[in-house]
Symmetry: C2
Subunit: 219 residues, 2 copies
Amino acid sequence: MSVDTGKVVLDISMSLDGFIAGPNPSREEPLGTGGERLHEWGYGLASFRERHGKSGGARNADDEVVAESLAGTGAVVMGRRMFSGGSGPWDDDPNADGWWEDTPPFRVPVFVLTHHGREPVAKQGGTTFTFVTDGVEAVLEQARIAAGDKNVLVAGGANVVQQVLRAGQLEEMQIHLTPVLLGGGTRLLDDLQKANVQLEPTRVIESPAVTHLRYRVVK
Amino acid sequence: MSVDTGKVVLDISMSLDGFIAGPNPSREEPLGTGGERLHEWGYGLASFRERHGKSGGARNADDEVVAESLAGTGAVVMGRRMFSGGSGPWDDDPNADGWWEDTPPFRVPVFVLTHHGREPVAKQGGTTFTFVTDGVEAVLEQARIAAGDKNVLVAGGANVVQQVLRAGQLEEMQIHLTPVLLGGGTRLLDDLQKANVQLEPTRVIESPAVTHLRYRVVK
């Protein structure tokens, strides 16, 4: 595991054509058509299975990347739709309890950037969802305090990632580039014309399933 | 150099947000605003300089990738705009002689997919431009014959690449992924919803400047 933590980092799976979700999301397919393919590389890994209460699984280069990310994360930031499970007409109840199971895989404080203030939701296993309504700087500040000397992991969706980038607050990007063309959906790196983001490649780890790209965001 | 040639391959520089040219192309900036940044990793390399009649230059991992590609290429396919130098109002003369110098860097037969039939243009150093008006399959067939046991390199633009992909004719993709966000312009992997392209990562070579991704296109 890297000891180079204490940063605001992005960690997300993206298709080669730039999408983090496919077209036509629905309650049944919250990641859109084909969107699950972006995450298939992870499902069989020991680290992933352990976080979902399962034993066994592959221990390979991909697993090391995931294990490193999990061990380095002290708090998570996400958007309301990632909390509540999608962005369709089924998602109009601001007090819905989300789609996460009783024991979500995060096991750290999660801060949800939203316009709908509400009481925190405590789940089992160390995951608490706290709702922050006063903007991206505020949600990052709360997450940084909670993370201590570990990383704040920005989990998505694209809108939150773009807000963090535009605010100049992202310090590192890890993109799991999957050999998939979705042909439509939600783009990760969109609406950034004025963000003036400068990147420096710092690490590449490859596997037959996915390419893990890491960039430092140059201040 | 790889001896695994005789294929139709893509070899192109792409920004992390998926563009192969920036917004607002002009006669002065045919690659659009910021588009030159996609190619900066290559300009100082020994292989690149040699092809442009210059000595010296860096011999590093990036240079090996370029040298391998050049040595393996027996013919090039490109679109008319790549031949003529842009896609703006200055580009309305179908008989314009292109923007390539007297001794273009290709040094192999180049086949230009176009709607405007015209006589071939022979340049110095082994580069000939032949204009093919009867579609993507025809241009690839001519290029394959010219390439012999070497590769047909699809050089761009995006429209030609997408036609080759939709025709199911691409066998390998090499994308030089640059740590650049252009925020707009021409996307490489667009309009492929019905192409059903399956990819398999086969090689990654990294450097501080660029990440060279290679994929096999699964039939």
